[in-house]
């Protein structure tokens, strides 16, 4: 909301600078988004008296002027305008002045004649968008004075962000009242001029059937107006306050709203049929709004109607047909109090915002309903003529928010604020409209009708805090309790320690992306009001987000990426929904680059598997990777489920090449995920004595059928090797020359160890024989 400084000054004689006022407003809780200086750029333009006017010898349309600006010599100025004459006073931009349009005035010659300045029009001064000639100043303008000062063009405009609880401050009057109370300056309220009532003008017939939503409604007819544009000063003022001039009547109503806070509406009386009724809308009732929208109303919406149609959505917007137009001569003015919650709900239903709804939602001052009616009537008649009838009044404004008293304990308020509340602050609150009385620790406060937001002792503590100033409250550390330190989740930290870059992607993805890794089972959770289709479904897999991130980075010339993300996935469940805590990885492209010690290498399945294994090992867990060709979106033969204990805790694999291609990624892409909620807690390591006797290592090389799983082979070796076998691993894998088709050669190294003795050749021979027998029996594998 924008409020020109000059408006505030009509209520209170403020002498402080705009910057100081801005600081005061902030301290009082009115956020100042900006202090605009719309007319600060006219310095150097002075009042000039034209003492002579001669035609330019070489140009028909130019004149040679001598202009007095209160200095020793009059200025010679060449001027292209024609509406001025000797004796006129005009604004003169002197040499060095820079005008709002960017023009800097220099001494120069125009068609051979010297010109030492420029006479200005309103356009050149930034006062209007168009003008017919020079701005002719009043005859009594003092020669030589700064035009900006003389015309009071200097103006500051406060752009305020009024909090939703302060409906009373959505206008110049309310802000001025706060400033006056704070500064201890007198507040001069504006009283509307008396209006002569013309008995010939019929009083509108009004019935209110929804009194709860509309406790006060006033209507008045004004007949016979000659509608014209509002005066220039009003249009300029409205523009400064951020509103667009519309027509004379609407401009007056906006002006009254901006200064006094009461939104009003005007109907074209000739377009109404019959009586006015304020009632709840019928379901499906049609409404043609002023903004061009055709609405089907909901039962419960509060509407203003005539006998044939809805003429306004109460407090939000009038109807298109009933509005005031250029040809309007008879009007009906409306001034009312609508229940804030009603206006709020309706305007949100239709996603409509108007200056009126913003004020009704926050709560207007019920006592201003009549005052604003008087002020608007007086201004309309003054500007456009016409005669006013009696006001039709429904409801009692004085009954709204009446007699609200808050009782509280001063010491309780002080304990909450952590500061003493001096008696003097009561006077400031009194100037803000509160009535206070202290009886020892007991405080009794009567709240003015316009302060909808104050009803409990805590509200008063805020009023006191504003007045005392938050800066005056001391800064104290509370006594601090100690708590047992929570176990921090190290999941993503450990993934990062494995060389992965942590990313954070949005929790919503596109419906198409959702289907890449999760079959349609009706358990998706979609947003009702997504930002876009690309962000419309709550993710059930982190992989699409990682793929998009990989795509973006590969497009930016990265040779490869290793990414990890920890976040939630979301799915419908019997409980309504579940949020699962997931850790996901993605690797693609180079994992090693060309270096002096080696060549570039692209990521493969085992790079990622190793990372996941390492991550599990850090938490005292180990995973079994069980080949699974049925994982949606992953390539059969390069994908597995990850079993941790008896739990299927995750999945790993290569992204289907066609699917990766959709993300413009040519290189193989590997992804993995672990559901952290399913993961058993790893066992804290327990001390085991270190072996004292040396172990024996043996190598055996077998020919296996292709397709034999190494974990099954190693498991078989572990059980065949007996208790002494402490480790078995595959140290060589070969299927090249010399290995028969369909076979693969695996070199297996195993270690035997006994904690109590040194092992002998016989021990290792026995284990070897057992293993060789087991390999033959289980896999049909022979020593190579």
């Amino acid at each position: 909301m924008k409020i020109p400084f000059s408006w505030l000054k009509t209520y209170v004689s403020l002498t402080a600078t705009p910057a100081q006022i801005a600081d005061d407003l902030v301290r009082l809780g009115h956020e100042v988004e900006a202090v605009e200086l719309p007319r600060a750029a006219v310095k150097g333009v002075r009042v000039g008296l034209i003492t002579s006017k001669m035609p330019h010898p070489d140009a028909d349309k130019l004149s040679l002027l001598k202009v007095e600006i209160g200095e020793a010599e009059a200025l010679d100025i060449v001027c292209g305008a024609s509406n001025m004459g000797e004796g006129d006073k005009v604004p003169v931009a002197t040499i060095g002045t820079s005008l709002p349009g960017g023009l800097v005035i220099k001494k120069g010659k125009i068609r051979g004649e010297v010109s030492c300045g420029m006479c200005c029009s309103e356009v050149e001064l930034g006062l209007a968008d168009e003008s017919a000639g020079l701005l002719i100043l009043p005859a009594d303008a003092p020669v030589g004075a700064e035009v900006g000062e003389y015309l009071a063009l200097e103006e500051a405009v406060f752009d305020l962000s009024i909090t939703p609880n302060r409906g009373d401050c959505m206008n110049a009057r309310g802000i001025a009242r706060d400033l006056a109370a704070d500064a201890g300056l007198p507040f001069t309220d504006v009283t509307p001029a008396a209006v002569a009532i013309d008995a010939a003008v019929a009083t509108p017939s009004v019935t209110v059937t929804a009194a709860q939503d509309c406790p006060v409604y006033m209507a008045r007819a004004i007949n016979g107006i000659s509608l014209a544009d509002s005066p220039e000063w009003m249009q300029a003022a409205l523009i400064m306050a951020g509103m667009r001039p519309v027509n004379g009547v609407v401009d007056v109503l906006n002006y009254v709203m901006l200064t006094m806070g009461q939104p009003m509406h005007a109907f074209d009386a000739d377009k109404l049929s019959g009586d006015i009724a304020i009632r709840a809308a019928a379901s499906g009732e049609a409404f043609a709004a002023l903004d061009g929208r055709e609405l089907k109303l909901h039962a419960g919406d509060l509407v203003v109607c005539d006998d044939s149609s809805v003429i306004a959505l109460a407090g939000i917007m009038g109807s298109e047909p009933s509005g005031v137009s250029d040809v309007t001569t008879n009007i009906v003015l409306e001034s009312a109090f609508f229940r804030p919650a009603r206006v709020s709900e309706t305007r949100r239903t239709y996603a409509m915002v108007s200056e009126a709804s913003m004020r009704f939602e926050r709560g207007v001052d019920p006592l201003m309903v009549a005052t604003a009616m008087g002020q608007a009537t007086a201004m309309i008649i003054d500007l456009f003529g016409g005669s006013a009838g009696e006001i039709a009044v429904c409801g009692d404004a004085t009954a709204i928010n009446a007699d609200r008293t808050v009782l509280c304990s001063l010491s309780r308020l002080e304990s909450r604020l952590g500061v003493e509340i001096p008696q003097a602050t009561d006077e400031v609150l009194a100037r803000m409209g509160f009535t206070l009385s202290r009886q020892g620790d007991a405080l009794e406060v009567t709240v003015p009708s316009f302060r909808h937001d104050v009803s409990i002792p805590e509200d008063l503590s805020e009023e006191y805090a504003r007045v005392i100033g938050f800066d005056a409250i001391p800064t104290l550390l509370p006594p601090l309790a100690t708590t047992a330190p929570a176990k921090t989740d190290r999941s993503i930290h450990d993934a990062v320690a494995g060389g992965f870059l942590q990313v954070v992607t949005y929790a919503f993805i596109s419906a198409g992306e959702q289907r890449l890794f999760v079959a349609d089972d009706g358990l998706d959770i979609a947003l009702a009001n997504p930002i876009s289709d690309a962000m419309s479904v709550m993710r059930r897999s982190v992989w699409p987000g990682l793929l998009n991130t990989a795509k973006r980075n590969l497009n930016r010339q990265q040779p490869g990426v290793a990414l990890a993300e920890q976040g939630r996935t979301y799915v419908r469940s019997d409980r309504g929904h579940d949020e699962e805590n997931v850790l996901a990885w993605l690797m693609t492209g180079e994992v090693e680059s060309d270096q002096w010690y080696g060549h570039a290498r692209a990521a493969d399945f085992f790079d990622l598997k190793g990372a996941v294994d390492g991550w599990l090992a850090l938490r005292g867990l180990s995973g079994r990777f069980i080949a699974d060709d049925s994982i949606l979106g992953l390539q059969a033969g390069q994908s597995a489920k990850i079993m941790v204990g008896r739990v299927e805790a995750g999945r790993i694999g290569r992204v289907d090449a066609d699917l990766a291609d959709q993300f413009d990624i040519d290189a193989p892409v590997f992804v993995a995920e672990i559901n952290l909620d399913l993961l058993p807690t790893g066992k804290q390591a327990k001390f085991v004595p270190l072996a004292e006797f040396p172990g024996v290592e043996r190598d055996l090389v077998f020919l296996f059928d292709r397709g034999a799983a190494s974990d099954a082979i190693l498991n078989a070796i572990r059980s065949a090797g007996g208790k002494l076998l402490t480790e078995a691993r595959i140290f060589d894998l070969y299927d090249g020359k010399g290995v028969p088709e369909g076979k693969v050669s695996l070199g297996i190294r195993f270690t035997l160890q006994d904690g109590k003795r040194t092992l002998t050749q016989a021990d290792s021979d026995a284990a070897s024989s057992a293993i060789i027998a087991a390999m033959d029996k289980r896999f049909g594998a022979a020593l190579r």
């Binding site: 805020e462 100690t482 270096q595």
Partner: protein, 407 residues
């Protein structure tokens, strides 16, 4: 000398080629015989037996010393040690000649032999040490590296700057005795709004730009579910749980998490991170709020930052305050980032509204509390000088690597 040394070296080579110890033994005696014949006093018939033996010893010693210094490696030296000083070595051969001497002369020549033995042994040790030094120096030279070549290293990972911020912020409050709590991101209207004193028609509700979820409802009234717009619902959930377990305050909680607003432009992300902090106890005051804020902000920004509270409005706190810090870029002098004001808004705070305490069953006439919610991205941007919110969610790996460098 030269030719002898050359000859000897040759025979040494032979020895090495022979590989086995037996073969070595077979070679040396043959050589010995030849030499001792050459030097035999009988052959000349001029000297006395003892002088001849002495001469033989001297000649043997000088021959040995020359051979030692010519030896190329420690293996060769070892062969020489055996050859001259071993049980069947050259010196022992000389001692065999002692038998021909008169008994009174025998100890004299024995002394000579022992002396020669000691001399040769010392010389051998010296040569061995010298050779070892030389050998090591040569090895070091051969193994010299260009230590400026890049190390063999996997590119390191990096924590996302938002994660770093979350970790830092949470840790500061945890150190102050605040317990860490979490809550669901998909919330119901009660926890996100009603319990926080934001009834349905409240204008503040509209300002939250809430994402609602399709066909996901809660309770008998089939209230729509939504994505939480702030971490404040954790306040409600944690207080309810805590009170159920402990009966009454005090409690102090820090709750980090993701939140969502239906707002997407240069300065707004539809998903961002907040940390909710609150404390409820007897006699908690606005002064305590300021104390905790001051401590937190100064610790986080690693300098004594000025703070300013401005009255504001939040439905869930009363009084409410926006909190500014003195601009960390210009030290409060006024710059582009603080729009010349010297202050930067960092968070919203206040004393918990009695309606909020009531909604979880805390008696507001006995207990009071403060609460505030801070935007993690905003704090990280200010601390790390990150100019654009969108960088956090673009996840450009160059940005992540750069910001992942921890001090």
């Amino acid at each position: 000398m030269k030719s002898k040394a050359g000859l000897f070296t040759q025979s040494c080579l032979l020895v090495f080629q022979g590989l086995s110890l037996q073969k070595q033994a077979a070679v040396f005696p043959a050589y010995d015989r030849e030499k001792s014949q050459k030097l035999s006093p009988k052959g000349f018939g001029i000297m006395s037996e003892i002088d001849a033996l002495k001469a033989q010893l001297e000649s043997l010693q000088s021959e040995a010393l020359a051979a030692f210094s010519a030896a190329g490696d420690s293996a060769a030296l070892q062969q020489l040690r055996v050859h001259y000083l071993g049980k069947k070595g050259a010196l022992t051969e000389v001692l065999k000649g002692v038998g021909k001497l008169p008994p009174q002369e025998r100890p004299v020549i024995g002394q000579h032999v022992n002396l020669a033995k000691a001399t040769l042994s010392a010389a051998l040790d010296e040569c061995e040490a010298e050779l070892a030094l030389k050998g090591k120096a040569a090895r070091i030279e051969a193994e010299r590296l260009d230590v400026t070549l890049p190390g063999r290293n996997k590119s390191p990972g990096a924590l996302h700057p938002v994660q770093q911020g979350l970790d830092e912020i949470t840790a500061i409050f945890a150190q102050m005795g605040f317990a860490v709590a979490e809550g669901p991101e998909i919330e119901d209207e009660f926890h996100n709004f009603d319990a926080l004193n934001i009834p349905p028609e409240h204008p503040a509700r509209a300002m939250h730009d809430t994402f609602f979820l399709k066909e996901l409802t809660h309770g008998d009234d089939a209230e729509p579910m939504l994505l939480r717009t702030h971490t404040s619902p954790v306040q409600i959930r944690t207080m309810k749980r805590f009170l159920a377990e402990n009966g009454e305050p005090p409690l102090a909680v820090v709750a980090p998490g993701r939140v969502y607003r239906c707002d997407y432009d240069v300065t707004h992300s539809p998903m961002f991170h907040q940390v909710e902090v609150f404390k409820v106890d007897r006699d908690v005051s606005m002064a305590h709020l300021k104390g905790v804020l001051k401590h937190f902000l100064s610790t986080y920004f690693e300098k004594d930052v000025g703070i300013r509270l401005r009255p504001h409005y939040f439905p869930f706190t009363e009084p409410s305050a926006e909190v500014d810090i003195s601009c960390v870029f210009c030290a409060g002098k006024g710059c582009r980032i603080c729009k010349g004001s010297g202050w930067i808004e960092v968070l919203g705070s206040g004393m918990i509204h009695p309606n909020v305490l009531r909604s979880v069953g805390v008696d507001s006439s006995e207990f009071s509390g403060f609460a505030f919610g801070l935007g993690v991205e905003r704090l990280v941007m200010l601390k790390q000088g990150i100019p654009d919110l969108r960088l956090f969610f673009e996840n450009d790996v160059r940005f992540l690597r750069r910001m992942g460098v921890s001090k």
